[in-house]
Symmetry: C2
Subunit: 170 residues, 2 copies
């Protein structure tokens, strides 16, 4: 299970400052290039699933995300493996009938704050967002929203749509 | 493209002796555990495709094999990537609607003979086979059959069905 909330932000610097004052630890900055695929016999935009190949810092991964399970956050089932060869992985998916649905390119700045990962995303063509993630453990929607508030972000800025959906709806 | 021929053999020792006399180089022996999957919306046993997760010597791989393209050999398109996490990879496939079609467990002894890989397989529940493979380059069906003859194996022992098919047809 991936417990996650996302919100649009105005000024990344403001959020960074709040993070620092809360004692968050800087982890890394990386460029992430994601390619999303649609299923050969079901429409992921209807079923609210996603299949993604990510290239980030020379590491490639294949990820499946299940439908979101609540109303506000982006919490959902997630399965992921690293893959050694991105071209072969893409070819396997294509041969199985998966079609490229689009791609998302972003720069992600990662912080750690207690049990939370806080990611500041600058998404090409979309702008800036923050994602707060908790990888496992007892799940409470409210704790994600509370942390959002601590970072000076209003609940109304919460965005449940994926970057891909946002890019497609422009 | 994977250029490959397979044949049933009676005594593995006889083939090993022939290989040695031809100057083949011993590479390795490993146990391979393969799980095959069927597609959510097409029947691989009809389309002559295969999707496999292999576990061998602590390395996991995901492989797609296209339909065989000739009458005697098992030559076909093949795409493969290593994956870091076999359980997550299986979960991803299951969530995408792929169903386990069966599994094949074998001990494979690998030799190298010029441009050819020669593999001696002892397949659980099936017996002994030899596979001759050429990974790339100009493709000639005859050169595989010729090598088979040099190893003392008759063309009538050639088997185009996969181990999975053979296990299922018992």
């Amino acid at each position: 299970m991936e417990i996650e909330i996302k919100a649009r932000i105005e000024r990344q610097e403001d959020v960074v400052q709040k993070l620092r004052s809360l004692g968050a630890k800087y982890i890394k900055t990386e460029k992430q290039e994601d390619v999303y695929f649609n299923h050969p016999s079901r429409d992921f935009s209807t079923t609210d699933e996603a299949l993604r190949i990510r290239s980030a810092g020379g590491i490639f991964s294949l990820t499946y995300k299940g439908p979101k399970i609540d109303k506000i956050t982006k919490t959902r089932e997630e399965y992921e493996t690293e893959v050694s060869d991105i071209d072969e992985t893409e070819k396997i998916l294509e041969k199985l009938g998966f079609k490229k649905a689009g791609s998302v390119v972003k720069t992600r700045v990662c912080y750690r704050l207690g049990v939370f990962s806080v990611m500041l995303d600058s998404v090409e063509g979309l702008g800036d967002f923050v994602e707060i993630e908790k990888e496992s453990g007892f799940y409470k929607e409210e704790e994600l929203i509370k942390l959002l508030a601590k970072l000076g972000i209003d609940e109304r800025a919460v965005e449940r749509r994926s970057y891909l959906e946002l890019l497609k709806s422009r």
